[in-house]
Amino acid sequence: MAEKILEIKNLQTHFTSDSGVVKAVDGVTITVNKGETVGVVGESGCGKSVTSLSVMRLLKDTPGKIVGGTIEFEGKNLEAISEKEMRLIRGNEIAMIFQEPMTSLNPVYKIGRQIAEAVQLHLKYDKRQAREHAINMLKLVGIPRAEEIVDEFPYQLSGGMRQRVMIAMAMACKPKLLIADEPTTALDVTIQAQILDLMRKLSKEGDTAIMLITHDLGVVAEMCDRVVVMYAGKVVEEADVFTIFENPKHPYTEGLLYSVPKLGQKVDRLDSIPGNVPTPSNMPEGCKFAPRCPKVMDICRQQDPDLLLIDKEHTCRCWLYQNSEVLEV
């Protein structure tokens, strides 16, 4: 039996403001086992980043609050430990690559200092060792002139270089769990291949578990063991990577797979799922995908389906399958 490293159960993270409550994450259950790579995909705005920020306990500066569910890391309830304990875990045992590098790189510190600080704190390196380690990490993620870059500021780097600095920082402490939020979106495909290779190595050799958030289904196909599909704050389907690509059950997953642009595909217009994601103020009753679903039934508009086990290790939240022989998750 695989050893669980991260277990998110029915997480609910809501943002409250004068204009009401935004249920950004509203029923997310994700398990990541040791050494495993789990992909998280879903519509822009469906709560992927907020889920990872919840795990990292980085919602402090936002009006966001975890209002339900649990997050366990190696059996420890991350909500219950002190901030001091959390600081030792964050960046060390759990590292995160953020979606937008500029939000997490400090614009007034040189690159080298930012990497070295994390390393000094967690790996107990002295200043010189930390700087050397920083340069090595930059080389590892394919940054040319690493010796110069350590002494430059974030604004002097290209978008993809900033992203690789983030990756270097996250990997510098050999974490047990790496949460990578769109780690390669700003990179060209040859560097992407190199970074993915590096992540694969980290997962094989260091037994690092990876939660990989990406919208690039090609990357998912290459990297992931299992895939979690989210829509409007909820997990709507989860299965192993082959099942997701070859036998998807949720109509949203099907639509997503149709929309992928492929090389050599000669079409005038790309397929896409018609309509837009519902806004928080305008959440439909029942299944959140119903207004855009090609297979919608009456019941879908009235009642939200549960996330049910529809096959071995295959869960789905859809009324089409609620009457099959199912097990409650």
């Binding site: 705005g45 769109e182 700003a186 495909v189 040859t190 291949a193 690039d216 929309s259 090389l263 790309l270």
Partner: protein
């Protein structure tokens, strides 16, 4: 023949750097090093290439957000690279940019409706029609009135990208430089935005410089594609030719590295070995020779020129 909307001639951007703390020898990061291309009205030129090869810098110079070190930029036949700020303001409206890093390019203290209205105000759009226009633009990019009163930090990465697109479209520009406009979006919204960009192009005869690293997206949207490596264009061709018959070894490596959405497919990759060279000290001869699987003696010494190998297919490589 109609004059191109944009013509770029021998464009260069060298960023000065001081080596060491105490002045020392001055040297340069050659971010863009002698780039020439044209874009016809209503055409989409795709620009792909290694991270850090100078794509954004090229785009920013076109937008006149950066001064070129050398070279010319002609817009509708008029030289714009030497205009001063005042003269620029009059033609600014004609070109707009969608920025790569949506977070860094949106003012965090402004509401989304104000962000989108800003170019309308700057360019004197009638006040009474402004709100309606903002409303319309939000809908065009798949957001709505609910989002208008919110601040950028309340949005997800992909939603922010769409705000940037709405802002760029606001004043009906002639040219849009789109720097990774869809890379933060999930595939379904990505398809919607790409379809939208195509519709807008047809309707308003828009011209795009489309920078992206996703080769299937670029293939879909572009008429012609330029491939950049270390500050230079190494291949430039009609999209069909480039994808069917890539000539430059770097283009071949790029195409072979595209991840395919099929978990059972193990692809034959051209893995590039060798150190990634630095734009402050580029290799001699062909700058790609340090990583090229076909490098010959000549490549180390002689800089290859961009040559037309077949109809409108340009490549700079000694193999041809």
């Amino acid at each position: 023949m109609e004059a191109p909307l944009v013509e770029v001639k021998n464009l260069k951007k060298y960023f000065p750097k001081n080596k060491g703390l105490f002045g020392g020898k001055k040297f340069f990061v050659k971010a863009v090093d002698d780039v020439s291309f044209t874009i016809k009205k209503g055409e989409t030129l795709g620009l792909v290439g290694e991270s850090g090869c100078g794509k954004s810098t090229t785009g920013r110079m076109l937008m006149r957000l950066l001064d070129p070190t050398e070279g010319q930029i002609l817009f509708e036949g008029n030289e714009i690279s030497s205009l001063n700020d005042n003269q620029i303001r009059d033609i600014r409206k004609e070109f707009q940019m969608v920025f790569q890093d949506p977070y860094a390019s949106l003012n965090p203290r402004m509401k989304v409706s104000d962000i989108i209205a800003e170019p309308l105000i700057v360019h004197g759009y009638p006040k009474e029609k402004r709100e309606e226009r903002v409303q319309h633009l939000l809908e065009v990019v798949g957001l709505n009135a609910y989002h208008a009163d919110r601040f950028p930090h309340e949005f997800s990465g992909g939603q922010r990208q769409r705000i940037g697109i709405a802002r760029a479209l606001a004043v009906n520009p002639k040219l849009i430089v789109a720097d990774e406009p869809v890379s933060a979006l999930d595939v379904s919204i990505q398809s919607q935005i790409l379809n939208l960009l195509k519709d807008l192009q047809e309707e308003f005869n828009l011209t795009y410089l489309f920078i992206a690293h996703d080769l299937s997206v670029v293939e879909h949207i572009s008429d012609r594609v330029g491939v950049m490596y270390l500050g230079k264009i190494v291949e430039l061709a009609d999209k069909d030719n480039l994808y069917k018959e890539p000539l430059h070894p770097y283009t071949k490596a790029l195409l072979s590295a595209v991840p395919v959405p099929n978990p059972r497919l193990k692809r034959e990759r051209i893995i590039l070995t060798g150190d990634i060279p630095s734009p402050s000290n580029p290799p001699s001869g062909c700058t790609f020779h340090t990583r090229c699987p076909f490098a010959m003696e000549e490549c180390k010494k002689v800089v290859p020129q961009l040559k037309e190998i077949s109809d409108r297919h340009f490549v700079s490589c000694h193999l041809y």
